[in-house]
Structures are given as C-alpha cells and as structure tokens.
C-alpha cells in the first residue's frame, strides 16, 4: 500500500471500500421510502457474500457466481418480505431474524460443505480485474475516484443513477413512496401498498447480493459474519443522505473515507487493531448524533423564522 500508483490512495481506497455500503444503502433506500426500517441489510449482505463466492467457485465463473448469489439473496429477501408483509410481523424483528438466519445458515453450510467454521478460502477465485488506464490514473482526485476500480464499483454508480430515475421518474417509484408516506392513498387508487413494499424488499435483496459478492469475490474467501456492520452503516448512510440517491452516495463516501483512514492509521500509528475496528462505529455514532443536533437546531430556527 505504500507504493500506490494513485496520487491520493486514501481517496482511491475510500471509493473501493464504500462500494458494499453504497450498494446496500441503495437497496435500503427503496425499503426506507416504502416505509420500512430494513435492518436485514446486514444479513442479506452475508447471504450474497457466501453464495456468490460458493457458486463462483463451483461454476468457475465470476459472472454466474454473482448472478446465482443475487438469486439466493433475493430468495432470502422474499422470505423476509413475505413474512413481514403477509403474516404482518414487525419488520424490525423479522429483520433481526434475517440477520440471525443469514449468519447461522452460512456458518452451518460452510461447516457442512467445507468442514470449516472459520475462514474458507477459494483458491480458484482470483482478485477481480480492475479498470487500469496507465498513467491517466495519476490525475489527482479524478483519477483516484474514477479509475482503477473493479466492475462492482462502476455498477454501484450506475445503480445510483438508476435508483434516481426509478424513484423520481417512474410510477413505480411514486407509488412506492406513496406506500411509505400514506398507504391509504395507494389503497384508494385500487393498488396494494404491500406489493410495492415487497418489490422494494426484493430490490434490497438484489443490491445486497451484489454488495456481498463484492466482499467475497475480491477476497477469494468467506469469513463468518463478513458484512461486519456494513449493513448497519448503510442504514445510517440512508438517514445521513436525507433519503435521496445522491445523498446516500455522499454519505457512503464519508463512511468509506472513515474506514480508509482507519486502515491507514493502523499502518501509520501504533494503535491496537480492536480500536481501529471500532472506529467506523464510533465515527458513525458521532455523525448520527451530530446530524440530529443539526436537524434539531435547524428545526428550532425555522420555527422561529
């Protein structure tokens, strides 16, 4: 990491690190607009991570691995959504259930298939290829941000644009937001809010499947509970991003940068690893509290004005 071909490796790494968070929070944005607090992002990332690397290893194809991994994740999301919406369970508790299920299922399967409950390595999975355009990468900031990433990074940006279009420019997006804001208006149109909510949960499964695939395919290994809090951070990114696609992108970058900085600090200063690992959580809490203080005082001043 010391000899990087990038001018600002910190920014470059932040863009890479933020990708699974961004992917999870794009999907979470849909469920959030549908009026559901989707804490299952964490578990869905684990499912995507596990199944995509397993399928990629079995089929020897990254593409098939990703597709099948996404299918598995959407399936779990379907179970989560169906129980929540059609058995009328509390979405927060079923979200917890999904996280517990994902963690348990992947460990049980890893043990069953590979006889191992620790790190499972997949020697036939190689690092994802990146978009390298020689010296252009040296362009400060722009080169750091835009070049030298793998395809997941670019897909995640495309999805941000797609999310913007779907949420604001299509009837699906408007009806989904309506289902979240005021379900009875959707009912009065003769439509079922639950259907839009279920679709939003499936979308979150799709993006989390991609986000999870990024985690394991880049590493060539699966680690139990590999999402390690990213789903939660994605949730906070949705709030910080003011529930808009662009805001979510910026918020994800803040968290990516925080983690990139933690990694950098780990190498540069002699701080125990556990402290470094706790930094993203601490930074997230501070950002959240700071944001609510800001919102609180803005609310006060607008009331007076």
């Amino acid at each position: 990491m010391s000899q990087s071909q990038f001018t600002f490796p910190l920014i470059h790494n932040a863009v890479a690190i933020m990708t699974p968070i961004l992917l999870a929070s794009i999907g979470g944005l849909f469920t959030e607009l549908g009026g559901m607090l989707n804490i299952a992002l964490e578990g869905l990332l684990i499912i995507g991570a596990f199944f995509s690397v397993v399928f990629a290893s079995v089929t020897e194809s990254i593409f098939l691995g990703v597709i099948l991994g996404i299918c598995a994740t959407v399936l779990v999301a379907l179970m989560f959504g169906a129980i929540t919406l059609y058995l009328k369970a509390n979405v927060f508790i079923t979200g917890l259930a999904t996280n517990l299920f994902a963690s348990g299922l992947t460990i049980v399967l890893a043990f069953q298939i590979y006889g191992n409950k620790g790190i499972v390595r997949f020697p036939n999975i190689h690092r994802l290829s990146t978009l390298d355009i020689g010296n252009l990468q040296r362009i400060p900031v722009l080169g750091d941000i835009f070049l030298g990433h793998n395809m997941f990074v670019y897909i995640s940006w495309l999805l941000v644009i797609l999310a913007y279009i779907v949420i604001y420019k299509t009837s699906f997006g408007m009806r989904l937001r309506g289902s979240g804001l005021n379900p009875s208006t959707i009912v009065s149109l003769g439509l079922s809010p639950r259907r839009y909510q279920l679709w939003s949960i499936l979308i979150s499964g799709l993006t989390c499947g991609l986000g999870g695939a990024f985690l394991t395919l880049n590493l060539g290994a699966f680690i139990p509970n590999i999402s390690s809090g990213r789903g939660w951070i994605a949730l906070v990114a949705i709030y910080l991003g003011n529930k808009t696609p662009l805001g979510v992108l910026l918020a994800s970058f803040v968290f990516g940068f925080a983690e990139a900085f933690s990694n950098y600090a780990q190498g540069a200063i002699n701080v125990p690893a556990d402290f470094i690992l706790s930094l993203p959580y601490i930074i997230t809490v501070i950002t959240m509290v700071g944001f609510s203080i800001y919102r609180y005082y803005r609310g006060l001043s607008s009331n007076h004005g």
Binding site: A89, I93, K117, P183, V236, F275, V285
Partner: protein, 363 residues
C-alpha cells in the same frame, strides 16, 4: 420521529387488557411458532446429519440426560432472564435498546475489574460493589442513547446498537491487552479472588445461587412496572407518548430512565455470569446473550414473569444444540437458524389472531 414511524406499536407493545379470546389466539400463535421451530429442527437435522435419529434424540433429550447438562441448561437461562427483563422493560416504555450485547459484556468486565481491584475485601460487600459496577456500566452505556434521544431526537435503536458494537471491540481489547492474565493461555483476565465466587447449588453443574437473584429481579421488575408510580408513567409513555405528555408526564425523563434500567439489567446479567459461572472475564463470554434477550422478551410478550419460562426455553434450545454437536455430527449454529424462525414468527400478527380484530391497519 424516526422510531415512531419505524415501529408500529402493535407488534411489540400489546395493549394491556385483552379478552379471553385474544389470549387464546395468542396461545395458538405461540404454539404455531414453536411448532414451526420444531419442524425446522427436524428438517435441518435430516438434511445435515448422517445419523439423524441419534442427532434428534440428543437435540431434544440431551439437556435432561444427566445432572451436569440439566444444571448447565438452567444456569444458561440466568443471563437470558436478566437481558429479557432489560428488553421487556425498555419495550414496555417504547424505547428500543439494541445494544444488549455490549452492555452485558461491559457489565461483566466492570464486575471483574472491581473483584480484581479488591482482592481482600469482604465477600459480601465486594460482590455488591462488583454488581453495582456491572449495573452502572450497562446503565451508562444504554442511558447515553436515551440522553441523545431526549436531547436531539436521535434514534436510540441505531445509536444503542452502534455504541454497543464499538464497545464490544474495546472490551475485547481490554481483556486481551491491559487486563490479560499472562499466566494462563486463555484470552481472559485473571480469575477473580475465591471469596467472590458464588456458591454452586447443583454440582457437578455450574448452576449457582444467582438463579435466586434472577427470580428475585423478575419479581422486582414486575412489581416496579405494575405497582409503582414510575412504572405506571413508563407504561403510559410506552402506550402513547403524546398522550402521556398531554397527561403531564415528563416524557423526556422516561426516555432516559428505561434505557438506564434496561442497560443496568443487561450489565447485571454480565456481572452475575462472571461471579456465578465464569470466574474470570473471557473474551466473548457474553456473545448472543443480548440478542437472545430480545427474543425472550418477545416470546414473553414483555411480561417480566413470563420472561422466566421464555428464557428457560431458549436455554433449552441452545443446550439441545450443544448436546447434538458434542454427541453427533451437526454444528452448534443450527440453534441460530431455529432461533431465527422464532424471531420471524413471534410478532406475526396473522398468526396471533390480531388481524381480524379491530387492529386492522394498512401496514
């Protein structure tokens, strides 16, 4: 504003007065939930085990096979009683404490630290100090989220989780760094002095006198919630915070107090586990106690007395999975899958007959 939207109260804080019919529907729903969990166990074992009959027999009868297993199962329910009580107290007040894991862990560390700092103290006074420290540790951590909520309306559900996640890592560091005992090979602190260790009541198992404290606290929380002024005000805030505010209750105060008490109970769970069971603060000793407390509280419908059987049931599940792992070829994590099934179904209103009654709502 956020958490109000997120959590339709219906699923978690049930109304107080229920008709017999609703009680019956609730019992049927619980039965369906448990039956589903039972079926999932069977399916998993038949899929995963090479000797399914042996595995199933150990899963279900393992905890009763000898005094050691049986006592340890009861013992494992003790921290779940404390965390279950902590969660139900917070849920009843419509506060969502999601940081149980870190609170139990920190409570355990605080109790250990006090015991190690007072090597020669009177066992009675010393353990009281240790437990106060455990309560304070958990209470302060959770209380912080309550204060944020009161002052700036920061969502306590997410802050309590994030603070706890950070603390777990920091406690890990303290146990394996500054407080690590170099004379043993465990990732653990030094053992606490002998005089603090609780009396075992069912040898050879680890079951100890903290069982009585757990039962005492369950009764205490029940009395507090249902027979005291504070308990009443907390329940009022839980039912409808705006209504409570209109009725002259200091709503902000009851954002902080339930969190402190909830975190404190979690911390106590960790403290009792150290004094009664572990004798030293082991890395990760409390893993799962916080999450399972949530499930226990939900099965118990936030009734402090019902927390006791619910905790026993969860301890039975884990003991069964452990016995199946030791004597057969499945891994312990199938318990997590079974628990997740319970989580999935335990708030499902369609199963509990609540949909047909007046509570029909669009979401």
């Amino acid at each position: 504003m956020v958490s109000g939207m997120i959590l339709p109260e219906k699923g978690i804080t049930m109304a107080n007065k229920k008709s017999i019919k609703e009680h019956l529907a609730g019992a049927v729903g619980l039965l369906i939930t448990l039956a589903a969990a039972f079926i999932i166990v069977l399916i998993l074992v038949f899929l995963l085990s090479k000797d399914p009959l042996r595995t199933i027999s150990y899963f279900f009868s393992g905890p009763f096979r000898n005094k050691f297993y049986f006592g340890n199962m009861i013992n494992a329910s003790i921290p779940l009683i404390f965390t279950g009580l902590g969660i139900s107290l917070a849920f009843k007040s419509s506060m969502f404490n999601l940081g149980g894991e870190g609170q139990v862990y920190s409570g355990g560390l605080a109790a250990t630290a006090v015991c190690l700092a007072l090597p020669l103290a009177n066992p009675f006074l010393g353990s009281i100090f240790a437990l106060i420290a455990a309560f304070a540790a958990g209470g302060i951590i959770a209380g912080l989220s309550g204060v944020f909520k009161m002052a700036w309306d920061t969502d306590e559900l997410i802050t309590s989780f994030l603070i706890s996640s950070a603390l777990i890592l920091i406690v890990d560091f303290i146990i394996t760094g500054p407080m690590d005992d170099p004379t043993n090979n465990l990732l653990a602190t030094s053992p606490i002095p002998l005089q603090y260790r609780f009396l075992k009541i069912y040898p050879p198992s680890k079951l100890d006198i903290s069982l009585f404290f757990a039962l005492f606290f369950a009764a205490g929380v029940y009395f507090f919630m249902n027979r005291t002024h504070w308990g009443y005000e907390m329940r009022m805030c839980g039912l409808n915070r705006e209504f409570a505010r209109y009725g002259g209750i200091n709503v902000g105060k009851f954002m902080v107090i339930p969190m402190i008490l909830s975190g404190g109970l979690h911390g106590l769970g960790g403290g009792f586990a150290i004094l009664g069971t572990y004798d030293m603060c082991l890395k990760g000793f409390s893993g799962g106690m916080g999450w399972n407390g949530i499930a226990v509280a939900l099965i118990a419908k936030n009734n402090p007395l019902a927390v006791i059987p619910a905790a026993l049931f969860f301890a039975y599940l884990e003991a069964g999975a452990k016995a199946a792992m030791l004597h057969s070829d499945v891994t312990f994590e199938i318990a997590a899958i079974v628990q997740s099934v319970i989580f999935y179904l335990v708030t499902a209103q369609a199963l509990y007959g609540l949909v047909s009654s007046k509570k029909r709502k669009a979401l």
